[in-house]
Amino acid sequence: MSLPTLWFVILAGSLGTFLARYSFFWLSGRKALPEEWIRILRFVPPAVLAALIVPGVIAPGLETENPLFNPRIIAALIAITIAWKSKNVMATFAFGMGALWLLQYVETLL
Protein backbone atom coordinates (compact mmCIF):
# COMPACT_ATOMS: atom_id res chain seq x y z
CA MET A 1 0.00 0.00 0.00
CA SER A 2 1.41 3.39 -0.97
CA LEU A 3 2.10 5.91 1.76
CA PRO A 4 -0.65 8.40 0.72
CA THR A 5 -3.21 5.56 0.57
CA LEU A 6 -2.07 4.26 3.94
CA TRP A 7 -2.51 7.68 5.52
CA PHE A 8 -5.87 8.10 3.82
CA VAL A 9 -6.98 4.82 5.44
CA ILE A 10 -5.58 5.83 8.85
CA LEU A 11 -7.16 9.29 8.81
CA ALA A 12 -10.54 8.17 7.47
CA GLY A 13 -10.62 5.26 9.93
CA SER A 14 -9.68 7.57 12.81
CA LEU A 15 -12.24 10.19 11.85
CA GLY A 16 -15.08 7.67 11.76
CA THR A 17 -13.95 6.20 15.07
CA PHE A 18 -13.76 9.63 16.69
CA LEU A 19 -17.19 10.63 15.37
CA ALA A 20 -18.68 7.42 16.83
CA ARG A 21 -17.17 8.31 20.22
CA TYR A 22 -18.09 11.98 19.97
CA SER A 23 -21.64 11.52 18.63
CA PHE A 24 -23.60 11.81 21.84
CA PHE A 25 -21.11 14.01 23.67
CA TRP A 26 -21.82 16.45 20.87
CA LEU A 27 -25.57 16.02 21.15
CA SER A 28 -25.02 16.11 24.95
CA GLY A 29 -28.45 15.51 26.31
CA ARG A 30 -30.20 17.33 23.50
CA LYS A 31 -31.32 14.03 22.13
CA ALA A 32 -31.46 10.51 23.50
CA LEU A 33 -30.38 7.61 21.35
CA PRO A 34 -33.60 5.96 20.16
CA GLU A 35 -34.16 2.73 22.09
CA GLU A 36 -34.39 0.84 18.83
CA TRP A 37 -30.83 1.91 17.93
CA ILE A 38 -29.46 0.78 21.28
CA ARG A 39 -31.04 -2.60 20.66
CA ILE A 40 -29.39 -2.86 17.26
CA LEU A 41 -25.98 -1.58 18.37
CA ARG A 42 -25.69 -4.09 21.15
CA PHE A 43 -25.26 -6.80 18.51
CA VAL A 44 -22.35 -5.05 16.82
CA PRO A 45 -19.58 -6.49 19.04
CA PRO A 46 -20.67 -10.17 18.92
CA ALA A 47 -21.44 -10.18 15.19
CA VAL A 48 -18.34 -8.28 14.06
CA LEU A 49 -15.88 -9.98 16.39
CA ALA A 50 -17.17 -13.45 15.49
CA ALA A 51 -16.95 -12.52 11.80
CA LEU A 52 -13.27 -11.67 12.38
CA ILE A 53 -12.41 -14.63 14.62
CA VAL A 54 -13.99 -17.60 12.84
CA PRO A 55 -12.38 -17.17 9.39
CA GLY A 56 -9.18 -15.91 11.04
CA VAL A 57 -8.74 -19.11 13.00
CA ILE A 58 -10.15 -21.63 10.52
CA ALA A 59 -9.48 -20.35 7.00
CA PRO A 60 -5.63 -20.49 6.95
CA GLY A 61 -5.64 -24.22 7.78
CA LEU A 62 -8.41 -25.27 5.39
CA GLU A 63 -6.18 -26.34 2.50
CA THR A 64 -2.86 -27.13 4.09
CA GLU A 65 -3.25 -28.75 7.46
CA ASN A 66 -4.53 -32.06 8.71
CA PRO A 67 -8.30 -31.43 8.93
CA LEU A 68 -8.62 -33.72 11.96
CA PHE A 69 -5.87 -32.12 14.00
CA ASN A 70 -5.64 -28.36 13.66
CA PRO A 71 -3.84 -26.89 16.71
CA ARG A 72 -5.23 -23.39 16.09
CA ILE A 73 -8.86 -24.50 16.05
CA ILE A 74 -8.46 -26.66 19.17
CA ALA A 75 -6.56 -23.92 21.03
CA ALA A 76 -9.25 -21.39 20.05
CA LEU A 77 -11.97 -23.69 21.43
CA ILE A 78 -10.02 -24.03 24.68
CA ALA A 79 -9.65 -20.24 24.85
CA ILE A 80 -13.38 -19.79 24.26
CA THR A 81 -14.11 -22.14 27.15
CA ILE A 82 -11.70 -20.28 29.44
CA ALA A 83 -13.11 -16.90 28.40
CA TRP A 84 -16.64 -18.17 29.02
CA LYS A 85 -15.80 -19.46 32.52
CA SER A 86 -13.32 -16.84 33.74
CA LYS A 87 -14.22 -13.66 31.78
CA ASN A 88 -10.55 -12.85 32.30
CA VAL A 89 -8.43 -11.51 29.43
CA MET A 90 -5.10 -12.65 30.88
CA ALA A 91 -6.32 -16.19 31.63
CA THR A 92 -7.78 -16.51 28.14
CA PHE A 93 -4.50 -15.35 26.65
CA ALA A 94 -2.32 -17.59 28.80
CA PHE A 95 -4.36 -20.78 28.33
CA GLY A 96 -4.91 -20.11 24.62
CA MET A 97 -1.20 -19.61 23.86
CA GLY A 98 -0.20 -22.48 26.17
CA ALA A 99 -2.64 -24.82 24.44
CA LEU A 100 -1.41 -23.78 20.99
CA TRP A 101 2.25 -24.39 21.89
CA LEU A 102 1.46 -27.76 23.42
CA LEU A 103 -0.66 -28.84 20.45
CA GLN A 104 1.95 -27.67 17.95
CA TYR A 105 4.51 -29.75 19.82
CA VAL A 106 2.17 -32.76 19.76
CA GLU A 107 1.69 -32.22 16.02
CA THR A 108 5.42 -32.63 15.41
CA LEU A 109 5.25 -36.01 17.12
CA LEU A 110 2.34 -37.28 14.99
Binding site: T17, S23, F43, A51, I53, V54
Partner: protein
Amino acid sequence: MTTSQNRSAFLSGMLAMLPVTPGIIPFAMISGMAALDAGMSPLTAQLYSVFVFAGASQIAAAQLITSHAEPLVIILTIWIINLRFVMYSASMSSKLPPSSIPKALQAYVMTDQSFAICAGMFDQNQVPYENRAMFYLGSSVIMWLIWQMATGVGIAFGSIIPTSWSLDFGVWLCFIAIMIPGLKDFPAIIAALVGGSLALALHGLPFNLGLVIASVVGIACGYLTEKKLSSNLPVKSDNDAKERFQ
Protein backbone atom coordinates in the same frame (compact mmCIF):
# COMPACT_ATOMS: atom_id res chain seq x y z
CA MET B 1 -14.41 21.58 43.01
CA THR B 2 -11.01 22.05 44.59
CA THR B 3 -7.77 21.08 42.89
CA SER B 4 -7.10 18.38 45.45
CA GLN B 5 -10.58 16.97 44.98
CA ASN B 6 -9.98 16.91 41.22
CA ARG B 7 -6.63 15.23 41.69
CA SER B 8 -7.93 12.55 43.99
CA ALA B 9 -10.88 11.83 41.66
CA PHE B 10 -8.43 11.53 38.73
CA LEU B 11 -6.19 9.16 40.73
CA SER B 12 -9.15 7.06 41.89
CA GLY B 13 -10.16 6.70 38.26
CA MET B 14 -6.66 5.49 37.37
CA LEU B 15 -6.64 3.00 40.25
CA ALA B 16 -10.06 1.63 39.30
CA MET B 17 -8.56 0.41 36.02
CA LEU B 18 -5.79 -1.67 37.62
CA PRO B 19 -7.65 -5.00 37.33
CA VAL B 20 -8.10 -4.70 33.55
CA THR B 21 -4.80 -3.12 32.53
CA PRO B 22 -2.74 -6.38 32.46
CA GLY B 23 -5.09 -7.71 29.81
CA ILE B 24 -4.50 -4.88 27.38
CA ILE B 25 -0.71 -5.17 27.38
CA PRO B 26 -0.39 -8.24 25.11
CA PHE B 27 -3.28 -6.88 23.07
CA ALA B 28 -1.48 -3.55 22.51
CA MET B 29 1.85 -5.24 21.77
CA ILE B 30 0.21 -7.40 19.13
CA SER B 31 -1.47 -4.37 17.59
CA GLY B 32 1.96 -2.70 17.31
CA MET B 33 3.45 -5.82 15.73
CA ALA B 34 0.49 -6.15 13.33
CA ALA B 35 1.00 -2.56 12.17
CA LEU B 36 4.66 -3.31 11.36
CA ASP B 37 3.64 -6.47 9.51
CA ALA B 38 1.32 -4.28 7.43
CA GLY B 39 4.39 -2.41 6.23
CA MET B 40 4.12 0.69 8.42
CA SER B 41 7.26 2.38 9.66
CA PRO B 42 7.69 2.33 13.45
CA LEU B 43 6.67 5.99 13.65
CA THR B 44 3.61 5.50 11.46
CA ALA B 45 2.65 2.43 13.49
CA GLN B 46 2.74 4.44 16.72
CA LEU B 47 0.82 7.35 15.18
CA TYR B 48 -1.74 4.89 13.83
CA SER B 49 -2.27 3.71 17.40
CA VAL B 50 -2.61 7.30 18.66
CA PHE B 51 -5.02 8.33 15.89
CA VAL B 52 -7.36 5.34 15.93
CA PHE B 53 -6.89 4.26 19.56
CA ALA B 54 -9.22 1.27 19.24
CA GLY B 55 -7.38 -2.04 19.44
CA ALA B 56 -9.68 -4.50 17.70
CA SER B 57 -10.05 -2.22 14.69
CA GLN B 58 -6.32 -1.42 14.62
CA ILE B 59 -5.42 -5.10 14.40
CA ALA B 60 -8.17 -5.99 11.94
CA ALA B 61 -7.26 -3.10 9.63
CA ALA B 62 -3.54 -3.92 9.84
CA GLN B 63 -4.29 -7.49 8.81
CA LEU B 64 -6.43 -6.30 5.90
CA ILE B 65 -3.57 -4.03 4.77
CA THR B 66 -1.21 -7.03 4.98
CA SER B 67 -3.56 -9.06 2.77
CA HIS B 68 -3.83 -6.20 0.24
CA ALA B 69 -7.52 -5.49 0.77
CA GLU B 70 -9.14 -2.50 -0.92
CA PRO B 71 -8.63 0.75 1.06
CA LEU B 72 -12.37 1.45 1.18
CA VAL B 73 -13.05 -2.01 2.61
CA ILE B 74 -10.42 -1.40 5.28
CA ILE B 75 -11.97 1.95 6.23
CA LEU B 76 -15.44 0.40 6.32
CA THR B 77 -14.14 -2.40 8.55
CA ILE B 78 -12.69 0.11 11.04
CA TRP B 79 -15.99 1.97 11.10
CA ILE B 80 -18.10 -1.15 11.60
CA ILE B 81 -15.93 -2.47 14.43
CA ASN B 82 -16.05 0.90 16.18
CA LEU B 83 -19.75 1.55 15.71
CA ARG B 84 -20.21 0.25 19.26
CA PHE B 85 -18.74 3.53 20.55
CA VAL B 86 -21.98 5.28 19.53
CA MET B 87 -23.68 3.14 22.15
CA TYR B 88 -21.05 3.95 24.79
CA SER B 89 -21.14 7.64 23.82
CA ALA B 90 -24.89 7.82 24.36
CA SER B 91 -24.57 6.20 27.75
CA MET B 92 -21.45 7.94 29.10
CA SER B 93 -22.42 11.45 27.97
CA SER B 94 -25.61 11.13 30.01
CA LYS B 95 -23.73 10.01 33.14
CA LEU B 96 -21.05 12.73 33.28
CA PRO B 97 -21.66 16.07 35.00
CA PRO B 98 -20.92 19.32 33.13
CA SER B 99 -17.21 20.10 33.46
CA SER B 100 -14.40 22.16 32.00
CA ILE B 101 -12.93 19.07 30.32
CA PRO B 102 -13.47 19.37 26.54
CA LYS B 103 -16.11 16.97 25.30
CA ALA B 104 -13.89 16.05 22.36
CA LEU B 105 -11.24 14.83 24.84
CA GLN B 106 -13.80 12.86 26.85
CA ALA B 107 -14.90 11.24 23.60
CA TYR B 108 -11.41 10.53 22.20
CA VAL B 109 -10.13 8.66 25.28
CA MET B 110 -13.16 6.41 25.63
CA THR B 111 -12.41 2.66 25.59
CA ASP B 112 -14.43 -0.50 26.15
CA GLN B 113 -12.69 -0.97 29.48
CA SER B 114 -12.97 2.56 30.90
CA PHE B 115 -16.58 2.75 29.79
CA ALA B 116 -17.38 -0.60 31.38
CA ILE B 117 -15.71 0.16 34.72
CA CYS B 118 -16.95 3.76 35.00
CA ALA B 119 -20.53 3.06 33.93
CA GLY B 120 -20.67 0.22 36.47
CA MET B 121 -19.31 2.32 39.34
CA PHE B 122 -21.41 5.38 38.46
CA ASP B 123 -24.61 3.34 38.38
CA GLN B 124 -23.85 1.91 41.80
CA ASN B 125 -23.15 5.41 43.12
CA GLN B 126 -19.58 4.51 44.07
CA VAL B 127 -18.34 7.85 42.75
CA PRO B 128 -19.90 11.18 43.85
CA TYR B 129 -21.64 12.90 40.94
CA GLU B 130 -19.42 15.98 40.93
CA ASN B 131 -16.23 13.84 40.83
CA ARG B 132 -17.27 11.74 37.86
CA ALA B 133 -15.77 13.80 35.06
CA MET B 134 -12.28 13.66 36.61
CA PHE B 135 -12.70 10.01 37.62
CA TYR B 136 -13.65 9.09 34.05
CA LEU B 137 -10.75 11.14 32.67
CA GLY B 138 -8.27 9.42 35.01
CA SER B 139 -9.52 5.95 34.10
CA SER B 140 -9.37 6.70 30.39
CA VAL B 141 -5.99 8.44 30.48
CA ILE B 142 -4.29 5.51 32.24
CA MET B 143 -5.72 3.21 29.57
CA TRP B 144 -4.37 5.52 26.88
CA LEU B 145 -0.90 5.66 28.43
CA ILE B 146 -0.59 1.89 28.93
CA TRP B 147 -2.00 1.22 25.48
CA GLN B 148 0.46 3.55 23.75
CA MET B 149 3.47 2.36 25.75
CA ALA B 150 2.68 -1.32 25.18
CA THR B 151 2.11 -0.62 21.48
CA GLY B 152 5.55 0.98 21.44
CA VAL B 153 7.08 -2.09 23.10
CA GLY B 154 5.42 -4.29 20.46
CA ILE B 155 6.79 -2.06 17.70
CA ALA B 156 10.29 -2.01 19.19
CA PHE B 157 10.67 -5.65 20.15
CA GLY B 158 8.02 -7.49 18.16
CA SER B 159 10.41 -8.30 15.32
CA ILE B 160 12.85 -10.19 17.56
CA ILE B 161 10.14 -12.65 18.64
CA PRO B 162 10.52 -15.79 16.47
CA THR B 163 7.54 -16.72 14.29
CA SER B 164 7.63 -20.24 15.77
CA TRP B 165 6.09 -18.71 18.91
CA SER B 166 2.94 -18.11 16.82
CA LEU B 167 2.26 -14.86 18.66
CA ASP B 168 0.01 -13.82 15.77
CA PHE B 169 -2.49 -16.25 17.28
CA GLY B 170 -2.74 -13.80 20.19
CA VAL B 171 -4.84 -11.54 17.96
CA TRP B 172 -7.64 -14.09 17.90
CA LEU B 173 -7.26 -14.73 21.62
CA CYS B 174 -7.67 -11.01 22.27
CA PHE B 175 -10.82 -10.91 20.19
CA ILE B 176 -12.14 -14.06 21.91
CA ALA B 177 -11.45 -12.52 25.33
CA ILE B 178 -13.40 -9.41 24.34
CA MET B 179 -16.30 -11.16 22.63
CA ILE B 180 -17.14 -14.22 24.73
CA PRO B 181 -18.05 -12.52 28.05
CA GLY B 182 -20.52 -10.37 26.08
CA LEU B 183 -22.48 -13.41 24.90
CA LYS B 184 -24.89 -13.38 27.77
CA ASP B 185 -28.19 -14.12 26.13
CA PHE B 186 -29.58 -16.08 23.23
CA PRO B 187 -29.91 -13.19 20.73
CA ALA B 188 -26.26 -12.18 21.28
CA ILE B 189 -25.16 -15.79 20.72
CA ILE B 190 -27.23 -15.91 17.52
CA ALA B 191 -25.55 -12.69 16.29
CA ALA B 192 -22.12 -14.27 16.92
CA LEU B 193 -22.96 -17.65 15.39
CA VAL B 194 -24.46 -16.12 12.25
CA GLY B 195 -21.70 -13.52 11.90
CA GLY B 196 -18.97 -16.11 12.41
CA SER B 197 -20.28 -18.87 10.18
CA LEU B 198 -21.33 -16.52 7.38
CA ALA B 199 -17.90 -14.85 7.46
CA LEU B 200 -16.27 -18.26 7.10
CA ALA B 201 -18.56 -19.24 4.23
CA LEU B 202 -17.90 -15.93 2.45
CA HIS B 203 -14.21 -15.53 3.28
CA GLY B 204 -13.26 -16.08 -0.36
CA LEU B 205 -15.29 -13.09 -1.57
CA PRO B 206 -13.24 -10.29 -3.12
CA PHE B 207 -12.47 -7.10 -1.18
CA ASN B 208 -13.13 -8.91 2.12
CA LEU B 209 -16.79 -8.19 1.55
CA GLY B 210 -17.52 -11.37 3.51
CA LEU B 211 -16.71 -9.57 6.77
CA VAL B 212 -19.04 -6.67 6.00
CA ILE B 213 -21.93 -8.85 4.84
CA ALA B 214 -21.52 -11.32 7.71
CA SER B 215 -21.41 -8.50 10.29
CA VAL B 216 -24.54 -6.81 8.99
CA VAL B 217 -26.49 -10.08 8.69
CA GLY B 218 -25.27 -11.17 12.16
CA ILE B 219 -26.41 -7.90 13.73
CA ALA B 220 -29.78 -8.17 11.97
CA CYS B 221 -30.28 -11.79 13.08
CA GLY B 222 -29.48 -10.94 16.71
CA TYR B 223 -31.89 -8.02 16.62
CA LEU B 224 -34.67 -10.00 14.95
CA THR B 225 -34.20 -12.89 17.39
CA GLU B 226 -34.58 -10.51 20.31
CA LYS B 227 -37.66 -8.96 18.74
CA LYS B 228 -39.20 -12.34 18.18
CA LEU B 229 -38.47 -13.56 21.71
CA SER B 230 -40.07 -10.57 23.37
CA SER B 231 -41.16 -7.11 22.36
CA ASN B 232 -40.74 -5.63 25.83
CA LEU B 233 -37.42 -6.90 27.11
CA PRO B 234 -35.48 -4.28 29.07
CA VAL B 235 -32.72 -2.57 27.11
CA LYS B 236 -29.45 -3.99 28.31
CA SER B 237 -26.75 -2.39 26.23
CA ASP B 238 -25.19 -0.84 29.33
CA ASN B 239 -25.03 -3.91 31.50
CA ASP B 240 -23.85 -5.87 28.57
CA ALA B 241 -20.68 -3.85 28.18
CA LYS B 242 -20.20 -3.25 31.88
CA GLU B 243 -20.17 -6.83 33.01
CA ARG B 244 -17.79 -7.80 30.29
CA PHE B 245 -14.74 -6.61 32.19
CA GLN B 246 -15.53 -7.57 35.76
